[in-house]
């Protein structure tokens, strides 16, 4: 089967994802209306995030001969999440192929290819399986351009399916973004909906900077009605996806849904909550976010990764530094607990929920 034909998100998740066959919790809800279709595009249809990513890869491969796609099982199988499905058949095994099973090897050879004029788009099969490539990413991908005074840039896109809420067994649900965002030289992107997935991946591949492109697994089967190609807000910019006046919720990837649901629930309690989808984690869009926080005077950031030293710590710190006089309350983090990512039966207790977000909002002194 292919992701395009699936209609039941639960069925999709169990069949599409070989390795986490117990997955049953993927959510198939629709995206907030952020997409802006070009004038003469094809008729809109229901598109999953995997399909949008697949479309982006196909269009990039078609537009630019130097784009190459390789990694573990991305050829014949189309990747364990089927993001690369059909690409090998369409573009041939010189453009899209299965590499030997070694992540450092995949990134290391992608570096050499990029030095020789190519634009490799490589897949790390799961977040935790990018760790064997840590040295190549941190010591070379991130640093080559600086080391060579801009003479050698590495236009590599590293696709990493990440985060949990898919019933995955150990090592299939990590949120590794802070490793990458704390590394100068890397651009870190994470879409939360199909339209952004398409648009941001196209931009990432076209970028001369190396991009860590983090795909939220629990959103893979989310559907949106749109016509591809689509062009959304540019990369490196956050986006206000719900306007509000009382508080700002910052989210990215898998937690954008949580933020929107929390805003909805907050409205029932009479709170007007603004939601920002960060979309790009590095660079951080200070301008958009600070503007919102100055307006609402309160903010919380939601992520799945453990709280201590996580991405939210940086966000809270820099927003406080820049906006302290405008703040009525401390910036809060609603994050995963500081424990290793739990087993499937326990993940619902670990993940930041709407209730936990609402509790955080309630903890603020609203008299101020």
């Amino acid at each position: 089967m292919s992701v395009e034909t699936g209609t039941d998100p639960v069925t999709d998740s169990t069949e599409v994802n070989d390795e986490t066959a117990t997955a049953a919790s993927a959510k198939g809800d629709t995206a907030p209306g952020t997409a802006r279709a070009p004038d003469a595009g094809p008729a809109p249809s229901s598109v999953t995030m995997t399909k949008a990513l697949n479309h982006a890869l196909r269009d990039s491969l078609a537009d630019d001969d130097t784009v190459l796609v390789f990694g573990e099982d991305v050829g014949r199988l189309g990747g364990v999440f089927r993001v690369t499905e059909g690409l090998r058949a369409e573009f041939g095994s010189n453009r899209v192929w299965d590499s030997p099973l070694a992540e450092s090897g995949i990134i290391g050879t992608a570096i050499g290819m990029a030095m020789n004029g190519m634009r490799p788009v490589v897949e790390m099969q799961f977040d935790a399986y990018a760790y064997p490539a840590f040295e190549q990413i941190v010591s070379h991908v991130a640093k080559m351009r600086n080391r060579t005074k801009g003479r050698v840039s590495l236009p590599i896109t590293i696709r990493i399916p990440y985060a949990g809420d898919i019933g995955g067994v150990e090592h299939h649900s990590d949120s590794s973004e802070a490793y990458w965002t704390s590394t100068p030289g890397l651009t870190v992107i994470t879409p939360s909906n199909p339209a952004d997935a398409y648009s941001l991946l196209r931009e990432s591949i076209a970028s001369d900077d190396p991009v860590v492109f983090m795909e939220p697994k629990s959103r893979y089967w989310m559907k949106e009605t749109l016509s591809l190609p689509v062009s959304t807000a540019p990369m490196n910019r956050a986006q206000v996806i719900r306007e509000g006046t009382d508080a700002t919720l910052l989210a990215y990837g898998p937690t954008v849904r949580t933020a929107l649901d929390s805003a909805e629930a907050g409205a029932e309690h009479g709170l007007s909550i603004e939601v920002i989808d960060l979309r790009t984690l590095s660079p951080f869009d200070d301008e958009t976010v600070s503007e919102s926080v100055r307006k609402t005077s309160r903010a919380a950031i939601i992520h799945e990764a453990a709280q201590f030293g996580g991405y939210g710590a940086e966000v809270a710190a820099r927003l406080t530094e820049r906006n302290f006089p405008y703040l009525s309350a401390p910036i809060l983090r609603v994050a995963g607990f500081d424990v290793p990512y739990p087993s499937p039966k326990l993940e619902e207790f670990y993940l930041p929920t709407v209730e936990r977000v609402l509790d955080a909002l309630e903890s603020w002194d609203w008299e101020l």
Binding site: M113, G117, D209
Partner: protein
Amino acid sequence: MTIDVPTTGRSLPQLQPISFIGADGRLTDTPTEGLRIPSDATLTGLYRQMVLVRRFEAQVTHLTRQGRLATYPSAAGQEAAEVGATTALAPNDWLFPTYRDSAALLTRGVPVAEILAAFRGDWHCGFDPHEYHASPAATPLATQTLHATGFAMAAKLKGEDAATLTFLGDGASSEGDTHEAFNFASVWQTPTVFVLQNNQYAISTPLREQTNATMLADRAAGYGMPGLRVDGNDVAAVFAAVAAALARGRNGDGPTLIECLTYRMESHTNSDDPTKYRDAEEVEHWKQFDPIDRLERYLRQTGALDDSTVAEVAEAAETLAASVRDAMNQEAEVDPRELFAHVYATPRAALAEEQQVLEAELAAAGHA
């Protein structure tokens, strides 16, 4: 019933290292696996370059002791491997060196000051890789072997008539990236030559604690590629083996591993104390295998070298040493503002803010 598997096509390197010119300066009767001794003209050129390189290493080591450079790993004693392998490269080929391989970069034509910029502390890579077809010297061990493999893969995909050569050490042979590079290169049949300089030590750790294999070249068989062990102090053997391997690669016949048996005459870097792990007798013992002495003796026998040429080469070496001194005695121009200039192709607002902080500090300190 038998399992259907290939039972042919595997071969191990010969036990005796390939050597044309013995330590006594006479032709050996060692089998040479079909390789032929280079012409006297080629050997004379190699002699000249080895003498230059030795003088270069001695001069840089001396300047490092005087504090002109932050650190320096000399390849003294390894001139045959450095020069023999690098000279075999065609202009279109690419070199992927390590910190040990300044001599190779010098042989590749990189200017002295640009090679030494990294060790003097001016900038991580002082030369333009595209100009010399040489990648920045890699310090994270074995990582460059994957870059060489990927670069060669791109050359192959583009149909370029180019091969890659990478150096690695006996210590680096234990790293995972080495294994991954050998495997990727062989599976993809890339035009890559791995020149493994077995200089008997990784800093202080002797070979016998690095590997239990009879020889490192044996590993090639496990990856389905040819492996050769050569007398790494016989420049004729190194040059012939590497030239043949590069030709094989360019011809579409895949990678080759060449283990060069050699010895590091200097300490690991200037800050190392080799008396802690090896005795003076061992160093004395290896002096009798000196790569330059034996070639000089050989070429005097054939008549290709006479006193006047030897004197002329020695003079050229002194000129080179003087230019090294001049280059290192000039104060390097470093511009703190350049810290921000090359990190990203896409400018970042937050980085511009940090640059302003530094600019203000510089202005306050009275910097121009």
